[in-house]
């Protein structure tokens, strides 16, 4: 349903119309606006005053009623320091490989020597093996790396001294064929050399993590037992003195 003709005429004429308001209307309106503004302003002042009072009380309470905290204070050390410490500790562990061996469980070691040698003693880590190597063989090592990369990989993993391997490989190159007896002899020689190195440089004592834990627990238990005994002793003596005094 649209607009009727007279409705269109009505809206046209009414929308054009303007009625001038009274002269004093604006003054009335501006007075109302002024009063509204004034009523707003004091609120801000009161709010500001209240906020400063509350803030003052808070600061006062914080400054003068500082509780003595028995809990340990946590200090946030910057990350750089932590990194430095880590690096230092790593350096120390490299200097003392035995301590690293203790820290790592046995399973973590890469490959025991048993796989290659039919011998009995497992070598802990390739890192450890490389730590004990003399630096003379660096040249020959690079040459061999180029010639026999597969062989070098093996030695790196198992941790066999490179001199032995170099010797064996040179023999192999010379003769072309190696008999079983020669191989056995070489292996035996290598084993004796390894043993000699170990006895001189490292203490190849296996440390079991679980046994260490057990030891610590036992120590703790012992100390607890001692404490209990001490308490019992004290109690006993107190009771004894009390009985004696009563008598």
């Amino acid at each position: 349903m649209g607009q009727l003709k007279f409705e269109k005429d009505f809206s046209k004429k009414l929308n054009k119309r303007k009625i001038e308001p009274k002269a004093g209307n604006w003054e009335e309106l501006s007075a109302r606006l002024n009063s509204a503004e004034k009523s707003k302003r004091p609120m801000f002042w009161w709010l500001g005053i209240a906020a400063t009072i509350v803030g003052g009380i808070l600061i006062f309470s914080i400054l003068f009623n500082k509780p003595i905290s028995e809990t340990p204070v946590i200090v946030n050390t910057p990350e750089e320091e932590i990194l430095k410490e880590k690096i230092e500790s790593q350096q120390i562990s490299f200097e003392n490989p035995v301590s690293e061996e203790v820290a790592k469980p046995e399973k973590a070691s890469v490959k025991p020597v048993e796989n290659i040698f039919s011998g009995k003693e497992p070598v802990a880590n390739s890192k450890l093996a490389s730590m004990g190597k003399p630096q003379e063989s660096s040249k020959t090592k690079s040459d061999q790396n180029q010639k026999y990369p597969e062989l070098m990989k093996k030695t790196e993993i198992s941790g066999i001294p490179e001199e032995v391997i170099a010797e064996a490989s040179s023999k192999e190159i010379k003769t072309g064929k190696i008999t079983d007896t020669e191989v056995d002899a070489l292996l035996a020689e290598a084993l004796t050399k390894i043993k000699g190195d170990r006895s001189g440089k490292f203490v190849s004592k296996n440390i079991d993590a679980s046994s260490l834990l057990l030891d610590v627990e036992l120590e703790l238990e012992q100390s607890f037992r001692e404490k209990v005994f001490d308490v019992l002793k004290e109690g006993y003596f107190k009771a004894k003195t009390a009985v004696v005094n009563r008598n």
Binding site: Q3, L4, K5, F6, E7, D9, F10, S11, K13, L14, N15, K16, R17, K18, I19, E20, P21, K22, N25, W26, E28, L29, S30, R32, L33, A36, E37
Partner: protein
């Protein structure tokens, strides 16, 4: 070319009026008060009351001027505020009643009468309508609101809005007929 500087001027005035600049507020009041009083007068019979409503409306306009976004026209925004103010005034006076009447006696068609009467006579005819009829008629025919919008603004059913408009139209048509016959214009059907 003339509209752009005027609009620019108005936006500048609005910006200053938001900062409670009285001169700017007065300028805006002077620009729109004539039209807004006319709008209020359409809804409110008494001119004195209409002025009161308009002042209340302008007070709200300046109070909430910061909420005005330059999406529509500033005049349209003020007009809406004025209409709402008029409705709330009529409600406070308890004169705004919407009688739920059936349209049994209404045949559904209007004679498309043309009126040739002046604004004061139009206002007189509109004033003669009951409050409910008048408000719905003005909102629909003059302001251009849809029945859904009217029903929302007045909190009534769409059906009620429609019936109020039908009744208002019928009454106005009869009044216009009598006025035309009595010499104000000629009957054109």
């Amino acid at each position: 070319m003339k509209v752009i500087p005027l609009n620019k001027n108005e936006t500048q005035l609005i910006a200053r009026a938001i900062k409670n600049n009285r001169r700017a507020q007065q300028c805006l009041y002077d620009l729109h008060s004539g039209k807004m009083l006319s709008v209020c007068r359409m809804y409110v019979k008494d001119l004195h009351h209409a002025e009161e409503v308009m002042l209340n409306g302008f007070f709200k306009v300046f109070k909430y001027l910061a909420n005005f976004k330059n999406e529509g026209s500033f005049e349209g925004w003020i007009r809406k505020i004025m209409i709402r103010e008029c409705i709330s005034f009529l409600r406070s006076e308890k004169s705004l009643e919407f009688k739920e009447e059936g349209l049994e006696d209404f045949d559904g068609s209007f004679n498309n009468i043309e009126s040739d009467i002046n604004v004061d006579e139009i206002q007189q005819i509109i004033d003669s309508l009951p409050e409910g009829y008048r408000v719905v008629f003005v909102m629909y025919a003059v302001e251009g609101y849809k029945h859904l919008e009217i029903s929302k603004m007045l909190n009534i059913n769409i059906g009620t809005s429609k019936s109020q408009l039908f009744k208002a139209r019928k009454m106005l048509q009869e009044k216009l007929k009598t006025q035309n016959i009595s010499g104000y214009g000629t009957v054109k059907i």
